[in-house]
């Protein structure tokens, strides 16, 4: 597969299948590459994969979620490499395991929804931010299990993804209200918990998510409302930002506005939420406290 093909394949998934997260799209692309790869040695394969990762991360999409997915895939390849003697055998094993691997990753969202279910108590008001596929899935399962709750969705400028979330919830017949981003403080006293997704979970247990999440988290902390993060474990990423400035530019800006020389005037698209504002993380590995994230990452990468 040529670089161009990789790029096209990846963009194709990203554009056409809105239900698939960027990490999964990247991993699917890399698996496809593995399938069509004609390299003869492990080294060659590694180089090919690495250049593909580069192509994906340099694509015009914002790559917050993609990087952890790619890192996870490379780790997967490393583990598969260790066990086998001949390259042909090795590749076969990689492909076989790759299928299991991808299936586990795609099952993650349902798992998260299931473990979140007991937290939907009848009559609760939930505040959510932007659009998250995991949160939507969890609410879908909850409403299908005859839970009664009301959702407040913040509009989430600049792309108004909250409106999209609002429409999805409406379509599922979940009672919901769209609020302004600036009304988060106003609404906080009426909600029982905040439930958001994450684009990326960092080593400290904090999250990188749609701009405005940090504001919501600080506000929730002040009002002593639990702040829950629903996320798949493949979004765990080996980064340790200490403040907003530590976030890489290609996380914060999309390609259109990152080329802008005057980055002060450009609008950031994500922010970093410190783990002390997060009550619990609901992942496919179970319900975790923020401190558990580094544990998982150390187990994997050490």
């Amino acid at each position: 597969m040529l670089k161009k093909e990789v790029s096209e394949y990846f963009s194709n998934i990203m554009e056409k299948e809105s239900d698939i997260s960027a990490s999964i799209a990247a991993i699917t692309t890399l698996l496809k590459l593995l399938e069509h790869d004609k390299s003869e040695t492990v080294q060659e394969l590694d180089l090919n994969l690495q250049s593909a990762v580069e192509v994906i991360t340099n694509s015009s999409f914002r790559i917050t979620g993609v990087s952890s997915g790619c890192a996870l895939f490379m780790r997967f390849i490393t583990f598969a490499k260790l066990d086998n003697i001949t390259f042909a055998e090795c590749k076969k094993v990689m492909l076989d395991r790759g299928k299991v691997f991808l299936k586990k990753l795609t099952d993650a969202r349902n798992k998260v929804a299931k473990i979140t279910l007991p937290f939907f108590v009848d009559g609760t008001n939930i505040l959510t931010h932007s659009k998250s596929r995991v949160v939507l899935e969890a609410m879908k399962l909850a409403v299908n299990s005859q839970k009664r709750f009301h959702v407040f969705v913040s509009e989430s400028s600049p792309d108004k993804s909250g409106t999209e979330m609002y429409n999805c919830l409406k379509a599922l017949d979940i009672p919901c209200t769209l609020i302004l981003d600036s009304a988060v403080g106003y609404i906080m006293e009426r909600v029982d918990m905040v439930m958001v997704g994450a684009e990326c979970v960092v080593e400290s247990g904090g999250i990188i998510n749609k701009i405005g999440s940090c504001t919501m988290a600080i506000c929730a902390k002040e009002f002593k409302k639990p702040f829950y993060v629903l996320t798949e474990s493949y979004k765990f990423s080996r980064m340790y930002p200490l403040n907003q400035k530590d976030l890489p530019n290609n996380f914060i800006y999309s390609e259109n506005n990152s080329n802008d020389d005057n980055s002060l005037s450009a609008h950031p698209l994500v922010d970093y939420t410190h783990p002390s504002y997060i009550s619990l993380l609901f992942t496919d590995l179970g319900i975790l406290m923020p401190s558990a994230v580094s544990d998982e990452l150390i187990k994997l990468y050490l």
Binding site: F79, V100, F101, S233, F236, L285, A292, K299
Partner: protein, 355 residues
Amino acid sequence: MLDVDGETHEMLLDNYISNLKRKKWENNYVIAEKTVQLFRHFIDTIQWSTTIELLNQLREYGFKITSALPLQFIVGNIIRRILNIIREEHTAARKSSEEEIDVQESLHKIVTSEDDVDDYNSIVPELKLSIFEHLDEFQIEIESSNEDISKQALEHIHSNEIILTVGKSSEVEMFLKEAAKDRTFEVFITECSPLNHGRQLALNLSKHKIQSTLIPDSTMFGIMSRVNKVIIGVDSVMANGGLRTFNGCHAVALAAAHYSVPVIVLAPMYKLSSRYLSSYNQDAFNEFVSPDGVLNYSDSVVSKVDVYNPTYDYVPPENVTLFISNNGGHSPSYVYRLLSEIYHPLDYDLSVHNK
């Protein structure tokens, strides 16, 4: 021991449940012991060949008990622990090698794509024997847990310190007595109304030559500025590191936070629960008991007012400094790790059957 001659499992279960409902065993420690004994008998008498048959039968009994007694977290903890012991022994016998057995879901497992999920559907010779050996260890652990906790007393209580405790807890009593062997310190005990168990503790401690002062619950905040440490017992530890404990403890924990006084919680491992508090309106978290004690029945006003007498308080994990269990000290953020060590994720929900 249990009186089990000729009784069917159903009768034993009903007896056990009614004993608990009638609060025949007031002490959590006794409940824990009785539960282990009951399940030991079940493992011995259930007809099973594959491990999954045994597990499913025990889970069914466990589900029956836990749904009849949703407020007794301890019972569920013990049952899950026993199920985990069976799973561990099964896996250990199957793998036989020394490799580390990790039953928990982890990123590492996803990446290495191990898909050999054990369905426990095989016959393991001498499994019963190894389960019983492991259960013996578990029983000894329960028996000695209070002792093991009190052994750590000298690391936490220093000379001339002022300790505050709430009501009466057997763990705290033993802990303070152990420390008193080598150190002199002062203890403030809140009465913990309406049950006023604190009075009994004050009496027991003063008999033991520990300088103890009984204070009404209402003066707790005033005294807190002089206190060096708050040491309390607990009914159960929630999965997020929060506490379900006797009424009034949340106020004490908040007062302690106000004066930056460390709050130490004594909790043996069997009090670790896999449940979360998802809302203050959650079913099966708190219990309202007879208003006697809050208001006397003979009082004429009784028919004119509503009286509530809840049993428990929830203390969030950020108000707890340290847990001391029989295995040592742990911070609240570490509780999830302990949980994953002692319970199997498949057993969190006993109502769902494994394939």
